[in-house]
């Protein structure tokens, strides 16, 4: 068996004339949390379906937990838990019955199954309501049960498509902690599709950004932020004017400069140094009190990658 939990090599998927995924190659380490970011229709769900062996690729191949997705999909599904686009719960049944069903599907022994159901429903605060049919439950409550179902049989690999959609902030934070713990303590690999960039930043060891079926960036959140350019600087002080802005904008290491709320915000090119810019400003008569240098957030990196597409 290979060390990578997921190994994708040149995966391409066409739906008729539409190319949903193009030459996707990727590796996800065992026991890591991989975040898959992208706008709607970028190919995230198609990727999950391919990895679970629910679709056959047009070209390329993929392995999950060392099993080929085409030849050994059953092995992959036996060792994986999945929360897909929809919660996929039976609304006529109760939370407990839904979990019982999937516990039986996964051949969990009765005592272990009941214990695990209690543990999971208690952790999401729904144990007391386990007998109620899900029909009248809110989306967030159902989503919690769906997440519990994905983790029920202690799978080696978990695929989660927008798991915190509909969660209140405290539940979302609790789930993030749980998922982080699963990866670090139990060695579970988590493949997480999300629009929530804060979540990806907090939780993911590695993030991949997909756009129109193509992987456009992959790396740790830190690497992506660093790779997005030199970051930005905020200068607090007095005496900033239009002439200074023009001078800054003419310099090659400055991408943009503007004054907002009396503060000078500068976007910098990669490896740009601040000292010459500060000297220039002082020389031109600015009174500088503080210079703050920061990297772009993951959200900014993501938006930038999406803008490149528009361009």
């Amino acid at each position: 068996m290979s060390d990578a939990a997921i190994r994708i090599d040149g995966l391409t998927m066409d739906f008729g004339k539409v190319r949903a995924l193009e030459d996707l190659s990727l590796e996800v380490e065992r026991g890591s949390v991989f975040g898959f970011l992208g706008p709607n229709g970028a190919g995230k769900t198609t990727t999950i379906r391919l990895l679970l062996g629910l679709l056959e690729p047009t070209r390329g191949k993929a392995e999950v937990l060392g099993f080929d997705t085409h030849e050994r999909a059953h092995e992959i599904r036996s060792r994986s838990g999945a929360l897909l686009e929809q919660a996929g719960l039976y609304e006529r049944l109760s939370a407990e019955e839904n979990l019982e069903y999937y516990g039986q599907i996964n051949r969990m022994p009765g005592i272990e199954r009941r214990g695990r159901i209690k543990e999971l429903l208690t952790s999401v605060g729904l144990w007391e309501r386990r007998k109620e049919p899900l029909k009248k439950w809110s989306r967030g409550m159902r989503q919690k049960v769906a997440v519990a179902r994905a983790l029920l049989h202690r799978p080696e690999m978990v695929f989660l498509d927008e798991p915190t959609a509909g969660f209140d902030p405290s539940s979302a934070a609790a789930l993030r902690d749980d998922l982080g713990g699963l990866a670090s303590r139990e060695g579970v690999t988590v493949f997480l599709c999300t629009h929530n960039l804060f979540e990806a930043e907090r939780l993911c060891d590695v993030v991949g950004v997909i756009r129109r079926g193509k992987l456009v960036a992959v790396g740790s959140p830190d690497e992506l932020r660093a790779g997005s350019g030199g970051g930005r600087a905020e200068i607090i002080g007095q005496g900033f004017g239009e002439k200074m802005l023009r001078m800054l904008r003419e310099r090659v290491e400055v991408r943009s400069a503007e004054i907002t709320n009396g503060r000078l915000a500068i976007e910098l090119e990669e490896k740009a140094k601040m000292a010459p810019l500060v000297s220039l400003l002082v020389h031109e008569g600015a009174e500088i009190e503080e210079v703050r240098r920061g990297k772009a957030s993951l959200e900014e990196v993501f938006l930038k990658l999406m803008e490149e597409d528009k361009g």
């Binding site: 629910l54 996929g88 719960l89 039976y90 609304e91 599907i105 179902r149």
Partner: protein, 246 residues
């Protein structure tokens, strides 16, 4: 087999919750069946009630309910967005297919049995004991045996339709139309052709001397053969990738 049983149990459990609670569903299912049983037991004459027609009637009556249940199998899962999660589980294709078919067949068979019990109980009270218990029970037992391949036929047909239908309603329409075609098209064709009628009358005369048990066994054999063919087609058409994309 264990996987088939898991799906089977869950399907029946869901069926019991069709109208909310289990008690309510049972009541809403049994009331019309009971009413039909009582109606026919009181309005049909005793001879007709004790004839083979009475037994056949018990197999035909629950058909509408069974069609509704079968159509719910895959089309219902698709409509309620539970199908993809089920397909992403470790369940083998055949376990899903046979679990669902088995539940529909069991439902049809139980309804057949219940309507027989209703009809006979009311008939016993209203019309007195039958002329021959042996004759009556053998026809009813035969009908119950025949009910299996009949419900299997409808279950596999229903699954075939349901596999590709986007909604339960569409699947029900398709299956109802198929039912009408199967039942009425031969009658219309035969009714419209004198030559065909004469040929059938001739064939009926030829079969007059044949042992009814032989006819029953041949019919059972044909039914089972059709069942097997339909099940094989359903198995071949059960492709996860197609079900996901449909």
């Amino acid at each position: 087999m264990r996987d088939v049983w898991t799906v089977f149990k869950k399907e029946l459990k869901e069926l019991l919750r069709l109208h909310g609670s289990g008690k309510r569903t049972l009541l809403l299912t049994l009331l019309p069946l009971g009413a039909v049983g009582v109606l026919f037991a009181t309005t049909w004459n005793k001879q007709l009630l004790e004839s083979p027609a009475g037994a056949v009637f018990c197999v035909v009556i629950p058909l509408g309910m069974v069609i509704a249940v079968i159509c719910d199998s895959f089309a219902g899962e698709r409509e309620r967005h539970t199908l993809e999660t089920l397909l992403a589980s470790r369940l083998p294709n055949n376990a899903i297919l046979f679990g669902k078919m088995g539940a529909a067949m069991a439902f049809g068979w139980i309804l057949t049995l219940l309507i027989m019990v209703f009809m006979r109980s009311v008939s016993l009270v209203a019309k007195g004991p039958p002329e021959s218990w042996g004759y009556l029970l053998s026809w009813h037992a035969g009908a119950l045996v025949f009910a299996f391949p009949i419900w299997s036929l409808w279950a596999s047909l229903g699954v075939l339709v349901s596999l590709r239908s986007p909604t339960v309603k569409r699947a029900q329409q398709m299956l109802s139309i198929s039912f009408l075609l199967v039942c009425f098209l031969p009658a219309i064709v035969v009714g419209g052709s004198r030559a065909m009628q004469r040929r059938i009358e001739g064939a009926a005369r030829d079969f007059q001397d044949v042992n009814p048990m032989t006819v029953a066994l041949v019919a059972l054999g044909i039914l089972l053969l059709v069942d097997v063919v339909l099940i094989l087609i359903a198995m071949a058409r059960f492709k996860r990738s197609k079900l996901i994309l449909d």
